[in-house]
């Protein structure tokens, strides 16, 4: 399982993963041995805990029908798919649940997007630059499979003395935007930007929100097909300005982030 790859990072940050499913102990034992899982898998046979916690997935048949999966009694009893992030005192700090039982995040996403901690494993970084700005793009993983959610992370570094605009922004100005080119089998979520800082310009009574220095923007990508190795096309548009020199022409930085089908890497696909 994918979480295993991030286990050294979880250990380094003193985070203990537990996975709960309705499987019997022997099913978990077989799965753990086959997939080389060393973290704790808990057996909630009969879905007693899943039910007590209010996580019993009442929609599973309806969702299977939506995917064209035949109804099977064994599917009844699964929990809603998702993750609770607990703090040192055991309080829920975040819930990261997926609408679809098929969709999953990576351990990297739980660490970086969830806990805000750096991961040592991720996809190969791609670099690009344009006037006043350097960008490094990478995905959570160098590989993907169907219904996996990978975050595209963009580390943007703005040259000292310059800023770019965030939102909201007065009309006629160009904010920093991130666009991922639509593709078949790729669902692109809304980019998540950090909060920009308020910036007042002498002589103007409009409020501007800006970014300076370094910032990270993340975009959730869900792959709904895994037929081909692919390339995620990203465009970052911005206008760099300085209080002393005014604004430069708007720029677009384009990056191509490759990602391989996991099946092709881990094992030859069997037809």
């Amino acid at each position: 399982m994918e979480l295993q790859k991030s286990l050294p990072d979880f250990e380094r940050h003193h985070i203990v993963p537990f996975a709960i499913s309705y499987d019997a102990v022997d099913v978990l034992a077989t799965f753990a041995a086959k997939q080389h899982i060393t973290y704790t898998l808990l057996s909630d046979e009969g879905s007693t805990v899943i039910r007590a916690l209010g996580l019993f997935n009442e929609h599973v048949f309806e969702h299977h029908a939506a995917y064209g999966v035949p109804k099977r009694d064994q599917h009844w009893g699964v929990p809603y798919p998702g993750v609770f992030l607990l703090d040192e005192q055991g309080y829920v700090r975040q819930k990261r649940f997926q609408q679809s039982y098929r969709e999953r995040e990576t351990g990297v996403a739980l660490l970086e997007q969830g806990f805000g901690l750096p991961s040592t494993v991720h996809g190969t970084p791609v670099h690009a630059q344009a006037q006043g700005v350097q960008v490094t793009a990478r995905l959570d993983s160098p590989t993907y499979r169907a219904f996996q959610r990978l975050w595209l992370r963009l580390d943007i570094s703005i040259e000292a003395g310059l800023h770019v605009y965030g939102q909201p922004i007065p009309e006629g100005f160009i904010p920093l935007t991130v666009a991922v080119t639509p593709a078949a089998g790729l669902v692109v979520g809304a980019p998540e930007f950090p909060s920009p800082t308020l910036h007042r310009l002498a002589g103007l009574d409009e409020d501007f929100y800006i970014y300076e220095g370094k910032l990270a923007v993340s975009v959730p990508l869900t792959f709904t097909q895994d037929e081909h190795d692919t390339v995620v096309q990203v465009a970052i548009r911005y206008q760099a300005c300085s209080d002393a020199l005014g604004c430069f022409m708007p720029q677009t930085v384009a990056l191509q982030v490759p990602v391989q089908v996991q099946d092709h890497v881990d094992r030859p696909r069997q037809r």
Partner: protein
């Protein structure tokens, strides 16, 4: 084929809420050993992952 991802479920009201202490859970692990989740955590942060099945 369409591939719906959003079924409009409101997860804020499903399961333990943000800000609550996660309930005590004691279940057997893959080795058949009884695991008390909070006791095993031993003051560390945790991820509690709920997934469909390891068998299918």
């Amino acid at each position: 084929m369409t591939t719906p991802l959003d079924f409009g479920i409101d997860f804020t009201t499903i399961g333990p809420a943000v800000g609550e202490r996660f309930p005590d859970v004691v279940l057997p692990d893959q080795y058949g050993q009884r695991v008390d989740l909070h006791h095993t955590r031993n003051g560390r942060r945790a991820l509690i992952v709920f997934h469909r099945s390891a068998g299918w």
